[in-house]
């Protein structure tokens, strides 16, 4: 690595002057010692002293060496000797000597200055590059940290969102309790009735095996239905991370409508399904989609609670759109949506219900959007509201 340029310290300047004096003195002594055998060698030795002084000590020392050696030459080697005068005959040689010395000093110190300037700019450049590199490195490190932080935040957010969705599901389940009780009791009632009927048919004087068998089969069906209800409820409560699979939206709608059937009949609401046959499958999480539909159904049932002058009908439709998306709509004959309510429907914690949490629709919307679809509300022509969502079909381009 090249030496870094730095301006000479005071000590270095003093040392360079000392070096000049020493060098010229050495040249003087050597010249004095050798003048008899070599004639006039001052030329050579003094030049060497001046060159070395200038080289190592720069122009100041160079000038000192020039002055010192000129004086020494005048005093010791140009007639009249031992005086600072120079005879006319010696003048050309002496002047040539001086000019040479000065020239050499100038040349070398110019060279040195250029070198220093070069080194300085190179050092500056290097310093700047190093500085920039450090800056870049710091920025990079900061960025990496930020990214890690963001990732952590995102993960935390995802966990929170999943948890919130689960809580909302459980809240919905709470609201559905009566419905669930009905849903479980209904098949159980059928099981009991059919099992007892089976026994009664067998206990007759002439046992009717055909009737007994039919009753036993119906009892089995009832038990199966009860266990399905329980499986549905369990799947709705479990803390599952979203899992997408190919599913038939009509099946999801039917299952969900069955879950809400009790709640509907409790409120004297009829749920009508108008499902388009042979819809393409959608890619989605069945539990989350069930949650969305349950929410919409519960809202619809709730919206019709004060209706007395018209049939309380909740229509659930599924259809295929021209663009390949699948649209599901839930239409009620309730009180409808005022513009004020309409504007705030999807705000978290906005609710028109006394016991509502106000999270149903925002969560539903985020679920649908996570599926690549859209959820929106509108007033329908006959006074109620209609909530619709779209989902990309499983074999469509957006999946």
């Amino acid at each position: 690595m090249p030496n870094r340029y730095s301006p000479p310290t005071k000590l270095q300047v003093l040392a360079s002057y000392g070096l000049a004096v020493v060098l010229v003195s050495v040249a003087l002594l050597v010249s004095l010692a050798l003048q008899h055998s070599l004639g006039n060698p001052f030329w050579f030795f003094f030049s060497a002293a001046v060159i070395l002084s200038t080289w190592f000590g720069r122009s100041g020392a160079g000038w000192l060496a020039v002055v010192y050696s000129t004086l020494a030459v005048m005093y010791y080697f140009t007639p009249p000797l031992h005086s600072f005068a120079v005879s006319v005959s010696e003048m050309p040689l002496f002047l040539a000597f001086v000019v040479c010395e000065v020239g050499v000093t100038q040349l070398i110190s110019w060279r040195k200055r250029t070198e220093d300037a070069l080194r300085r700019s190179r050092d500056e450049l290097e310093a700047r590059v190093a500085e920039r590199t450090t800056e870049l490195r710091n920025a990079n490190a900061a960025l990496v940290q930020q990214m890690a932080e963001q990732k952590r935040t995102e993960e935390a957010l995802q966990v929170t969102r999943t948890e919130l969705a689960r809580v909302a599901r459980i809240t919905t389940i709470g609201e559905l309790t009566a419905s669930i009780a009905h849903e479980v009791n209904q098949p159980l009632a059928a099981v009991v009735a059919n099992a007892d009927a089976c026994v009664a048919w067998l206990a007759r004087e002439h046992p009717d095996l055909v009737e007994a068998r039919a009753a036993a089969e119906r009892a089995t069906q009832g038990a199966t239905r009860a266990s399905e209800v329980i499986a549905r409820i369990r799947s709705l409560i479990t803390k599952a991370t979203p899992e997408k699979s190919q599913l038939q939206i009509n099946q999801v709608i039917e299952q969900t409508a069955a879950l809400a059937a009790g709640q509907a009949s409790r409120n004297e609401v009829a749920i009508e399904l108008e499902l388009a046959p042979e819809l393409p499958p959608v890619l989605g999480d069945s539990i989350q989609l069930q949650q969305v539909i349950v929410n919409l159904l519960m809202n619809g049932i709730e919206a019709m609670s004060s209706v007395t002058d018209r049939p309380k009908t909740l229509v659930v439709r599924s259809e295929s759109q021209k663009d390949g998306q699948i649209r599901v709509s839930v239409q009620d004959a309730g009180i409808g949506l005022s513009p004020e309510v309409m504007g705030r429907l999807f705000e978290p914690f906005f609710t028109t219900r006394a016991k509502g949490m106000g999270m149903g629709l925002p969560i539903s919307r985020s679920i649908i959007e996570a599926h690549g679809g859209r959820l929106w509300a509108a007033s329908n022509g006959s006074g109620g509201a209609i909530f619709q969502f779209t989902l990309p079909s499983g074999d469509g381009p957006a999946a």
Partner: protein, 207 residues
């Protein structure tokens, strides 16, 4: 007149429950007719036989309680056994006040249900008998002339023949004749019986 066999009507929106009940009730030798909704029941032609009605309280459309009120308004008296998945007290009270025969929660014990059905049919039969008697009495009373009705009212009110004659501005003999006609036409053996029949007709609304 030979009485027709009793019929049990079942109204429940759940086919599985409906089929189960039907099988259960048929297995004990009773006739059953099932309906998916209250509207279907109202629209159907019902046989004139002793009957009882098994009704799910909560149903889409017309609820069980609504049907009960409608039947009462139409003066169709069928003993009702309510069944419900989630019986709550106010609902039971309302149903009982409107004359529900029994209130069972799902899942019920089949024996309870069959017992309730038997009792309900018995009471339905009783009700029909009373109603038939009443109708007979009423048709007998309907043959009275307006003058005879006036006399009847005053007799029932406890007035003596002389007082009645004074009130109607006629002779005691004429009153006696009217009174004899009333006793004859209503087939009353005694004054006490006449009063009881008159009270019965007054207290029950005309069908």
């Amino acid at each position: 007149m030979k009485e027709q066999d009793p019929v049990v009507f079942v109204i429940d929106d759940d086919k599985m429950v409906r089929d189960g009940l039907q099988s259960l009730i048929r297995s004990v030798g009773l006739q059953v007719e099932t309906f998916a909704s209250a509207q279907d029941f109202l629209a159907a032609k019902r046989p004139d036989a002793p009957a009882c009605l098994i009704l799910d309280v909560r149903m889409p459309g017309l609820s069980g309680l609504d049907l009960q009120l409608k039947l009462n308004e139409a003066e169709i008296y069928i003993p009702i056994i309510f069944i419900t998945g989630h019986g709550d007290i106010p609902m039971s009270v309302r149903a009982m006040k409107e004359g529900a025969h029994e209130f069972l929660t799902k899942p019920w014990r089949s024996q309870d249900l069959l017992d309730a059905i038997q009792k309900a049919i018995a009471s339905g039969r009783e009700l029909r008998k009373e109603r038939q008697e009443l109708n007979e009495v009423r048709s007998r009373f309907d043959t009275l002339t307006p003058r005879e009705k006036e006399v009847l009212d005053l007799v029932v009110a406890g007035l003596l023949n002389k007082q009645i004659a004074d009130q109607l501005g006629t002779s005691e003999l004429t009153v006696k004749t009217h009174r004899a006609h009333v006793m004859e036409k209503t087939n009353a053996d005694s004054l006490a019986q006449l009063v009881r029949m008159a009270e019965k007709i007054k207290n029950s609304p005309r069908r």
